[in-house]
């Protein structure tokens, strides 16, 4: 874990005008800090998300530089959950019962969040959700607010954009493949539901074990089924292997749109590694540097993130996780300032009633704490050449096709043409 001192040094070393807590006004330093607790997957299979910490730290430094919350400095209390849900109950109990944190942020994703939900419901605590699809749908806690724009009823709806594009392109036959991993299975179930709703026939539907290295058998079976849309729910290791297989055995000429829910194609190292083979794939993202998405706040955030990422060997781009961690902080900030108290019920009441402006857009919460408006992007990779990471910071490489208000281009189809183009 990066110690705070080292982090501050790195931050200071970059020459950015960051106010570390020690530099804040003396009255702020004397006040009892407000503690915000969370767990981060610093190790284990989800450690690709460990740059979350940087997102939280940047927010903490900003809020402290601006005088803290309620005149008190903000302090983060974080533990490594080792990507294991078995660790979560003890960690969150430690945060609440021993460290006496004032506010909680959930761990990453639905698997790690699942053990936290009954806990916060039982203790009636405020919680900011992080990336858990439909994280609050079973427990239905009224003090839960999602930092991620999956939107309402996200289990089914979040990938609707992909199927909207498929329908617009005239697809009627869809193939669905998914890794045996929680997020992928939920995505696949959602995809199936929408296919039915749109009267598309599911001509192939199968899951495969995580860490599958050879996709030729699966791709051939898909080709034999002649789908027009291929909805892929994969995880980082198999995303790479699958795209390699795509180049090797092909997928057939029938396919118009391919991708959807491939986790990993948001990470710099994977993108650079796969390179031109990405072209044509349509996939989910939450932030890409397209003109419709950019604003000074997020640009500034990413500009500060980059040198830190380089120094700490984190994901070079930081588009996927860190901005939403910063947004989680902003949601807390808005709630505490708006309610002018640390009382969880009052913060929740305020957030239910008022929208929050974050660096990733304006968030209005519904009764389950999901954003009322889904803002999952479907982007198409275009014009990727070579393996340079820098190109993914440029507009036009990850063209937004959906949702319509943010659109920066139209779907290039069929898939074969999009790949060569």
């Amino acid at each position: 874990m990066i110690s705070r001192r080292r982090f501050s040094k790195i931050a200071a070393g970059t020459g950015l005008a960051l106010a570390a807590p020690a530099l804040s006004t003396s009255s702020l330093a004397q006040a009892q800090p407000i503690k915000i607790g969370t767990s981060i997957s610093l190790t284990g299979p989800l450690s690709g998300t460990k740059n979350a910490l940087t997102g939280y730290q940047l927010w903490r430094d900003d809020v402290n530089a601006a005088g803290g919350l309620l005149g008190r400095p903000v302090e983060l209390v974080t533990y490594d959950d080792q990507s294991s849900p078995a660790q979560i109950p003890a960690i969150y109990s430690k945060l609440v019962d021993v460290d006496r944190v004032d506010l909680l942020i959930s761990p990453y994703g639905a698997v790690l969040s699942a053990p936290v939900m009954p806990f916060v419901k039982q203790r009636d605590l405020f919680l900011v959700g992080m990336f858990a699809l439909a994280g609050n749908d079973t427990v239905r806690h009224d003090k839960y607010f999602h930092a991620c724009p999956w939107g309402p009823n996200s289990q089914v709806n979040w990938a609707r954009g992909f199927f909207d594009l498929a329908r617009a392109a005239g697809c009627t036959k869809v193939a669905i493949m998914s890794a045996d991993i929680e997020f992928a299975k939920i995505s696949a179930a959602g995809g199936k539901a929408i296919s039915e709703e749109y009267r598309m026939s599911v001509v192939y539907d199968q899951s495969y074990p995580p860490n599958q290295t050879d996709f030729s058998a699966i791709l051939r079976n898909i080709r034999a089924a002649q789908p027009e849309a291929v909805f892929v729910c994969s995880y980082p290791p198999d995303s790479t292997a699958l795209i390699r297989g795509l180049s090797e055995v092909g997928i057939g000429d029938s396919v118009k749109i391919f991708g959807g829910s491939m986790i990993g194609l948001q990470y710099a190292s994977l993108l650079a590694n796969i390179g031109p083979a990405l072209n044509g794939i349509v996939n989910l993202h939450l932030y890409v540097p397209e003109p419709t998405m950019r604003n000074p706040a997020i640009d500034g955030f990413l500009a500060r993130y980059e040198p830190l990422a380089r120094a700490q060997q984190l994901d070079a781009l930081g588009h996927y996780v860190p901005p939403f961690c910063y947004a989680a902080g902003q949601i807390i900030e808005a709630g505490v300032k708006g309610a002018n108290t640390l009382n969880h019920a009052q913060i929740s009441r305020y957030l239910h009633a008022n929208p929050v402006q974050t660096i990733v857009g304006r968030a209005t919460f519904n009764e389950l704490g999901d954003w009322t408006e889904k803002r999952v992007l479907m982007v198409q990779f275009r014009g990727i050449r070579g393996r340079d990471v820098e190109q993914f910071r440029q507009p036009g490489r990850q063209v937004i096709l959906d949702p319509p208000p943010l659109r920066t281009g139209e779907l290039v189809a069929p898939f074969g043409a999009a790949r060569s183009g």
Binding site: P85, S93, A114, P118, Q122, D180
Partner: protein, 316 residues
């Protein structure tokens, strides 16, 4: 001899009473969240040691039996809302059946082969769970357990107490086995199966018994987990780390007596609980790995063996 038994029984009762007292006296629930993990390892290490330590059959897949217990309990809770006691018994039975299957394997294979076959069991069960939609597959299963009885203060305190009782019973059972003719027979077959057989020991029957008891206890250790975490997934139920710790604890404490796994579990699990919140988990794993190497190289009979050796040296 008899005095020792009385002392042990008294100790067991004191531990249970202290647990019960702590639930009412200690307001901070974290104690029970962390305690649950530690006590769970006491059960796992003790259960593993009955087969691995006494009989010398290395079960490299304790996670298979633990996971079977976790999922049996969750299945019954989901399907019938069965009470915890029923789930524990059912998990024990499932563990016993799996243990007996493992035991029959010992007819055919010994030593390394047995160890490898048990690894296979973990992967097979995990693959099966992945493919059962009702159990949530790879997605995992979130279940909210029923409210605990009022005397237990809270849910975590309740499962902690249940697990503590299981731990005390497991240790008592292990101790009884160790000191009876069964334990002697198991140790004899550990030294030489052929010689034991020729000394009149019904080796197969003893091995089956050890596998069944060990399997049942390993599965029982998993039964309350769904009440603890409200969520299970194949990754945690069939966790490699859990299996590793279960094997490491008796080795560190000492495999020859019941106290070894208990000491090993209390020590390693407490250190790990503390380490989770202090040092990085890479160092945590590194620590376990190095501890294993050091103990194998320098103290093959664990801490208890080390203590005995020191005592002998002082007397000599």
């Amino acid at each position: 001899m008899k005095r020792q038994d009385v002392a042990f029984a008294a100790g067991a009762i004191v531990v249970l009473l202290m647990g019960f007292g702590a639930v009412h006296a200690v307001a901070n629930p974290y104690f029970f969240f962390a305690g649950y993990v530690i006590v769970q390892y006491v059960v796992l290490a003790t259960a593993w040691n009955i087969l691995g330590g006494y009989a010398g059959y290395i079960n490299f897949g304790p996670a298979a039996l633990y996971g079977a217990g976790v999922y049996t309990s969750a299945l019954l809770l989901k399907a019938f809302g069965a009470p915890l006691v029923v789930n524990i018994v059912a998990a024990g039975l499932v563990g016993m059946v799996l243990g007996l299957m493992m035991g029959y394997l010992t007819l055919r294979v010994q030593g390394v082969y047995f160890a490898i076959a048990t690894i296979a069991l973990v992967i097979m069960l995990e693959t099966v769970v992945h493919n059962i939609e009702y159990l949530g597959g790879a997605r995992g299963l979130a279940l909210i357990a029923p409210e605990p009885p009022a005397w237990a203060v809270g849910r975590t305190q309740f499962v902690f107490l249940v697990l503590l009782a299981i731990a005390v019973m497991s240790v008592a059972l292990a101790r009884w086995i160790e000191r009876s003719w069964i334990g002697r027979g198991l140790r004899a077959l550990r030294a030489s199966e052929e010689a034991a057989e020729c000394a009149g020991v019904a080796t197969l029957r003893l091995k089956l018994a050890a596998c069944a008891v060990s399997g049942a206890l390993l599965a029982v250790a998993g039964a309350p987990y769904i009440y603890y975490a409200s969520y299970i997934d194949p990754g945690s139920a069939f966790s490699l780390t859990l299996g590793l710790n279960t094997i490491a604890m008796p080795l560190i404490g000492g495999t020859r007596s019941w106290a070894g796994p208990v000491i090993g579990a209390l020590l390693l699990a407490s250190v790990q609980q503390a380490a989770t919140v202090t040092i990085s988990s890479e160092l945590n794993v590194l620590m376990v790995g190095l501890a294993l190497i050091v103990f194998i190289a320098a103290a093959p009979d664990g801490l208890i063996g080390l203590a005995e050796r020191l005592r002998r040296k002082m007397h000599a």
